[in-house]
Symmetry: C2
Subunit: 590 residues, 2 copies
């Protein structure tokens, strides 16, 4: 029944749905309640971060969750608005020239649908490998820089200041300049919320446990911290009429479900959104898959990256048509979902229903919710994204990766998220190609008394003046084959007594057409110079392909299975150095 | 005396100049005469191909040769106008929006100076590796397509037709449509020249040798074929006043040296020429270095690619300021120079003087030279660039390289030289990254009775259900590290009995920060799943870098020097399968 199997591949719900039972349902219900409590303030806050009305965050947490439950392969992933994607949405819409009749919300809806269609296409055409071009240091640098940008951008809400958006430096300067104009009531609410939220995150859980509370309840109350802050500060604003003294509040929020929203496919808008939508898709996918894989591994489950693309695509299309904005799998809330015991995506379904209910019953209560509270929620959430230790780790491990990372951070902070990611990706590709274009090429000699060959610069090895053995530690391809040629011609010009050059190939996993052409050239040019060219230790698949060409018949020398056999045939004196007296490192290898 | 050594590095003339003797001088003189005879008609023809007055070709063959003689490291390279660079010049100037007061010649001069400055900068900052990104198939495809484009473009001169420039298809259609309007006298001259030149190239040399002529004279006369055609057809046009019946002729050519020409640095022009000048530089450099290396190897000499950049840069700047256009080392003429016995770049100096003399004494004689003759010279020269066999060779060897090659050919023929090269380069980089992003990853088992491990799909090998060994045949870097993760998680999910995963690393030459991060993730996720993660056969430099990180201390398993030691420690039953009975390929490796 190949059709049924295919259906199961595209609708994983058919797999877990068949065996769903009361035990699963109880677990999923518990997880859903906890995630809902966490998700409501986050949704409101991230929508504000995206520059959209707060209810949009709720809308983005209903249908997308249902779509993911139907199509997703992860059992514990919780999709919805996340900080970095919200920032990217804000910066895309802020930078765009919106056509007549298109407001920010319609632009966000368009962005979600475009991103959804791109994810869907990537899933169907199996283009998930595109995500591979975002290296870890680039992503890590980008997320750190985004976290800083987001936190800086929220400081104005904490202080009650009106500051235009700008890059990190501009924002920091503007804050310092106008800090004296801060609104006292707003500052008290904002700083108070911040201190409380940090305390909840850092110490409350362990305190409650020490006071004798069960660990699971302590953990639940920790997650409920933001809800508590929302309730308390909203009550304060209402009770003391703080809006009248300048505390900015959420105000009217429509009650009930959103209507069907229609994205704008104005070509002018679509063209402007092509690159941002692609970046939002790829970055959302990378983050989501990485969370999903971490959680799946803990229960020895599998996720299918190509199907995840389809699921995220469906979620974003659903977000777009229900008045939401781009969503993806969130790290913190997925971990909470998992820890709370979610067994299946049904937990997401239940969360969606709960948030749907909230749009009816909760929204009137949000009128007095201060922006400062939402800003504090955002700052506490995103500061955990800033990973300074990762910068140090990459510095220690690889200067090349470090430079790509720092470029990403600097460009993101100074020029924004889109140029940041693009320059990081381009720089890492260019640095990678540059690096592999000058591979390590060792001149090797025989370790006395063994059959092993080692770099003559690192070991006391035996070599002769008639035979030179060169070992490139990289596959041969267009970017490095000419470098190999140059190295070999140099070595031959410096060692006039040479009669044989052996290319030792144990590290060559592949030779492309340019590499082959270079080997042909080396062979011809060495032959013209009266030097024979040999190969040794060629890997099976590489040899298979060489055998399809005329190269082996042109080769002036031989192909040896082992380097030892090559030396035994071409320069046996090296193996019995007693007869010669001194064969140590007589080859000039500069 | 480091300064003197440095001076010698930048002025190779100081090396060969010191030991220059009468023997060298005699050889260089002979070579210079032969090259001059070959270069004069070619210079005129290539200038016409570049869309410039014919004398510009002569000007480009005087000062640039002197500059190369001073700075070049090849003893036999002959620089001057070449076909492909002439085509690129024509297409660049044709596509450009020339600012007020800038004519085609001034634009050509600007292009030469810009290209010279870029080559100089690449030489000083050692950016020669940029040329590595032009893969052999892309260059070969580009040159083949250029040859076809050039030959097609010259057919109008052979037939005496006025056809606007266009892509290959447009030109072919236009020729077919208007072939009936051909000018009979022009056709007779053009076709006659073509037939004679092909006969000279194919058969005359061997015929003369058979008739008893010394081989060296026969070879010289073969080179002189184009000069003979130029003389005969010019005489015919003059004698029979063919210009009056519509044969297009060169007309007035100024006598004597060009004055100092001043390039235009109008920003509008410079911006338009940035990419074309870079492409002309890089392609000219690649061609030139490849010829120089071929010739140097025959005498066991060396060329220094970075110094070649400086020499070509100086040549182009000299070309620009003396009324010429972009030049590079030509294949055919360098081989002729070498075969005729040129010992040093002094041969180029003498050629330059001879061509300088020609601008005084020869140019008046060129008045009646027909365009059709020059077109025939070009067609015969460029058809040797068209290498159809190379296309077949690449098809057989590598479908990936073949697609980059065909894209280059198709885009060059349809959209022109600049888009052709750029799309070829981009496609080969993308295909390379895509390919290495899905490396070959083998599941391996023990070859019975040996200590060798081989792919379980290719060999009858021993494996167990508790230990899985995975061998990636590629270095780990950002583009492929997630693929490795996916493969390992898949394999672990499919083999529930696993207790150990060994990553066998003999083919891993490098692990970048993304690869390291993936190994950390694999280790953590396998640990969560109760599976230990081990490494075996890690190369020394890779191990050195891993030792700088915390990875080895996090590793749930061990690092084994050999894969055999790993299996001996983790699953000794495999080594003594008798106790177990059947250990063959029980691992699921889908």
């Amino acid at each position: 029944m190949p059709n049924v199997k295919r259906l199961h591949r595209y609708f994983p719900i058919l797999d877990w749905g068949r065996t769903y039972n009361r035990h699963d349902a109880a677990n999923d219900m518990t997880a859903a309640v906890i995630v809902t409590v966490m998700l409501i303030p986050q949704s409101l806050a991230y929508a504000m971060l995206a520059g959209l009305p707060p209810e949009v965050g709720l809308y983005a947490s209903i249908l997308p969750l249902i779509a993911y439950a139907v199509f997703g392969t992860s059992r514990a992933l919780a999709v919805g608005p996340v900080a970095v994607i919200s920032l990217m949405t804000a910066s895309t819409i802020g930078a765009a020239q919106l056509p007549e009749g298109v407001n920010a919300l319609m632009a966000a809806v368009t962005l979600a649908v475009m991103s959804g269609l791109m994810l869907l296409a990537m899933g169907i055409f199996r283009l998930g490998f595109l995500a591979s071009f975002l290296s870890h240091p680039v992503i890590s640098g980008f997320i750190t820089a985004s976290g800083i940008l987001i936190a800086l951008g929220q400081v104005r809400h904490i202080l009650g200041l009106q500051i235009p958006s700008g890059n990190a430096v501009q924002t920091a300067i503007a804050i310092v300049r106008s800090v004296a104009d801060s609104n006292l009531s707003t500052v008290l609410i904002g700083i108070g919320s911040l201190i409380f939220l940090f305390w909840v995150r850092m110490s409350m859980g362990s305190l409650l446990v020490r006071l004798g509370m069960a660990r699971v309840w302590a953990s639940f109350l920790t997650k409920a911290g933001p809800v508590l802050v929302v309730i308390v500060t909203t009550w304060l604003v209402w009770q003391f009429d703080l809006a009248a003294v300048g505390v900015r509040i959420v105000g009217d929020v429509p009650v009930g479900f959103p209507g069907l929203s229609i994205p704008s496919f104005d070509p002018e808008l679509v063209v402007q959104f092509l690159v941002p939508a692609l970046l939002i898709s790829v970055i959302g996918f990378v983050e989501s898959v990485s969370v999903a894989q971490t959680l799946a591994a803990k229960r020895r489950q599998r996720i299918v990256p190509d199907q995840e693309l389809i699921a995220l695509g469906a979620s974003n299309i659903a977000a777009g048509f229900s008045g939401g904005y781009p969503v993806t799998g969130g790290f913190a809330r997925s971990v909470v979902n998992f820890d709370a015991g979610a067994q299946t995506p049904a937990a997401g379904l239940i969360t969606a229903i709960a948030i749907g209910a909230a749009t009816f019953f909760l929204t009137p209560l949000l009128y007095f919710l201060p922006h400062a509270t939402l800003a504090a929620t955002i700052i506490v959430a995103v500061l955990s994204l800033v990973d300074i230790a990762a910068i140090r780790r990459v510095w220690v491990y690889s200067k090349r990766d470090f430079s790509a990372m720092m470029a990403t951070i600097a460009v993101t902070l100074l020029f924004g998220v889109e140029p940041g990611v693009i320059s990081g990706v381009l720089l890492s590709i260019i640095l990678h190609l540059h690096h592999t274009s000058r591979p390590h090429i060792a001149v090797v000699g025989l370790v006395p008394g063994t059959e092993h060959f080692r770099n003559i610069h690192r070991h006391q090895v035996l070599t002769g003046t008639r035979v030179l053995t060169v070992r490139p530690d990289e596959s041969l391809y267009f970017a490095n084959s000419r470098y190999l040629e140059d190295r070999i011609y140099d070595l031959v010009a410096k060692n006039p007594g040479l009669a044989h050059v052996i290319l030792m190939c144990p590290a060559i996993n592949e030779i492309d057409a340019s590499g082959l052409e270079s080997l042909e050239d080396i062979n011809l040019r060495l032959r013209d110079a009266g030097v024979k060219f040999h190969l040794s230790e060629v890997k099976g698949p590489v040899m298979d392909r060489l055998a399809r060409t005329a190269f082996l018949s042109h080769l002036s020398g031989q192909v040896f299975l082992s380097q030892y056999a090559a030396i035994a045939a071409l320069d046996p004196m090296i193996i019995n150095p007693d007869q010669d007296g001194d064969g140590i490192a007589t080859v000039e290898a500069g």
